[in-house]
């Protein structure tokens, strides 16, 4: 494991639509400050935003940990929540269990998890029914 240059931990609360997006905005701000390539920041922004929205929509609470090394950045989201019964199904584009209310707000179109995967260089999703879900996403940085 490479040496950790920077690590930040954020708390995300379920159903807190008012604050939804704040954590990913902070993630983007930090990564911009660090001077990462805008494309990497954009991808990290999508990953953290979609993960944050999943917590807000479905889980009770979660921690999001951002870790930066010379080679990569990782985003790990650990939530307390219902868990995902069928991960393979959840990873399909367009599959969603969102309520109409959530869809009206512009979310829940079944693109979140596929989007996270698409923007990650490595992606692992683990879930325990009734306990929660753990999402690990990693983006490789160009050698510079």
């Amino acid at each position: 494991m490479a040496e950790v240059l920077l690590q930040r931990k954020f708390q995300v609360r379920g159903l807190d639509f008012d604050k939804a997006g704040d954590t990913s905005a902070e993630v983007k701000a930090i990564l911009t400050d660090v001077g990462l390539d805008p494309d990497v920041v954009l991808r990290a922004g999508v990953i953290s935003f979609e993960a944050e929205m999943n917590v807000v929509m479905y889980a009770v609470r979660a921690t999001l940990i951002l870790t930066l090394t010379e080679e990569a950045l990782s985003i790990v989201v650990d939530d307390e929540g219902p868990g995902i019964p069928d991960i393979e199904m959840a990873m399909q584009e367009g599959y969603s269990t969102a309520s109409d209310e959530m869809r009206e707000m512009g979310f829940g179109y079944g693109m979140g998890l596929p989007n996270i995967k698409k923007n990650s260089d490595e992606f692992v999703l683990e879930s325990q029914i009734g306990r929660g879900t753990r999402l690990c996403s990693m983006i490789e940085l160009d050698s510079r």
């Binding site: 240059l5 920077l6 939804a20 905005a25 983007k28 911009t32 400050d33 660090v34 001077g35 805008p38």
Partner: protein, 434 residues
């Protein structure tokens, strides 16, 4: 640091070091370390708020003056539509044109046709755009610079179509060089601007291309001559026949900030004005809260270009005058429409180069070094009082901490940590007791 020209300069002789500009700067680009205001060029977005905030008039807009280059054989004024709403009743567009000729211009160009062309070009651009959304208008140079500096991830969403004034500059040169047998370099196209931000967009375009305009004069600089000329006895608008004057409302509407609202009516379009509102909307886009919006027409001034910092008249009066002019004119007169239809297929309106983010400060250093700067800044911030008094010369404790992290300032700039700093401030700003 990158040397970047801006549309104003700070006259140190007049600056009293009062901190007004530093406190109000939306991008926190200003510092007042040694009793004089200085700005970081790569953070400045040319919004011009500091110009109006300075009580000593020490911040001055740079513009082009008529005495400047005489190397041009033919000088054409290209007035912003705002100019036509600036004058008291009785001074008609034709008087305004005549006043500009009195100033030494050889011709005045009404860019109604170019506005029509750009409306068409933007409509087509939106139609062909596959995403990401929303697209953002680039008519306001402050908005463009805000995106480059603070929202670099959104630069591709800036509409890649030139503003009408630039197309007007190109046409002025093409037309008059052909008619008068002059070379393009002998013709000057001078924009009559409502703000210093548009001056800088001409001198130093955001996309690092070359502007088709050669300079800009503030409305403030032409105002008096126009009024004086119009009030001369016998100054009847009989000359209107030989000069172009405003013929259609779409040209004037462009100055109100929602010039695109009609042509984009079938799209999910937002009209956003005022820098803090623009920032809020951009933040919401970044946070993913504003989905399903296709186009944002954004202006830094809350009243569109009518509130520019180089205007003269009261902004409400200007709005009212422009509205009555707009109501009296057709959307597009037949002659303009014919000209738009003739020129549209044969001209290109795309930006010559894409707009890129401005390089961030500290680029050139390694990731490890930049992270260390952040760690240092965080450690310093813990020790600062958090009162944001500004006496250190930075607008907030957080900014001082960042400056210290980067090695531009010292913790001893904080008055809580240095009696010297307080003593120096006392010497500079307090008159000795009798």
């Amino acid at each position: 640091m990158i040397d970047r020209t801006h549309g104003f300069r700070i006259e140190h002789g007049d600056c009293r070091g009062c901190l007004s500009c530093m406190r109000i700067c939306p991008t926190r680009a200003i510092r007042v370390r040694a009793g004089k205001a200085e700005y970081t060029p790569d953070r400045c977005i040319d919004c011009g708020i500091c110009l109006s905030a300075c009580p000593s008039n020490a911040i001055v807009a740079t513009t082009w003056s008529m005495t400047d280059p005489s190397r041009y054989k033919f000088k054409v004024a290209v007035p912003s539509p705002v100019l036509f709403g600036q004058f008291p009743a009785g001074i008609a567009p034709s008087h305004i044109v005549d006043g500009l000729l009195t100033l030494g211009f050889d011709a005045v160009w009404d860019y109604g046709v170019e506005t029509g062309l750009i409306c068409g070009a933007i409509k087509d651009y939106v139609k062909g755009w596959k995403g990401p959304f929303p697209l953002i208008s680039i008519d306001c140079p402050v908005v463009v610079r805000l995106v480059q500096v603070a929202y670099p991830r959104m630069v591709d969403q800036l509409v890649g179509v030139q503003p009408p004034r630039e197309i007007a500059g190109r046409e002025v040169k093409r037309r008059y060089s052909r008619e008068l047998g002059l070379s393009i370099d002998e013709i000057a196209a001078i924009y009559i601007t409502p703000c210093q931000a548009k001056t800088i967009s001409i001198l130093e375009p955001a996309e690092e291309a070359e502007s088709n305009l050669d300079g800009a004069m503030g409305i403030t600089e032409v105002y008096n001559t126009i009024v004086a000329r119009a009030n001369l006895p016998g100054a009847e608008p009989g000359f209107a026949a030989r000069t172009p004057s405003v013929r259609n409302s779409s040209f004037l509407r462009w100055s109100l900030g929602d010039g695109l609202s009609r042509i984009l009516s079938g799209h999910r379009y937002l009209h956003v004005t005022g820098l803090s509102n623009v920032t809020q909307v951009f933040d919401d886009i970044e946070k993913g809260r504003l989905r399903n919006v296709e186009f944002i027409e954004a202006h830094s001034c809350w009243s569109g270009c009518t509130g520019g910092n180089l205007t003269v008249a009261n902004v409400y009066v200007t709005l009212s005058k422009l509205t009555s002019l707009i109501n009296a004119l057709p959307e597009m007169d037949p002659e303009t429409r014919r000209e738009v239809e003739r020129r549209y297929p044969s001209e290109s309106f795309a930006l010559e180069r894409p707009i890129r983010p401005r390089p961030v400060r500290g680029s050139g250093t390694t990731l490890r070094e930049r992270v260390e700067m952040i760690h240092r800044a965080e450690a310093i911030l813990e020790r600062l009082p958090g009162l944001n008094c500004g006496l250190c010369g930075a607008p907030t404790c957080r900014e001082l901490a960042k400056d210290v992290g980067m090695g531009d300032a010292s913790q001893k700039d904080c008055v809580f940590y240095s009696k010297d700093r307080l003593k120096k401030l006392r010497e500079m700003h307090l008159r000795p007791a009798e």
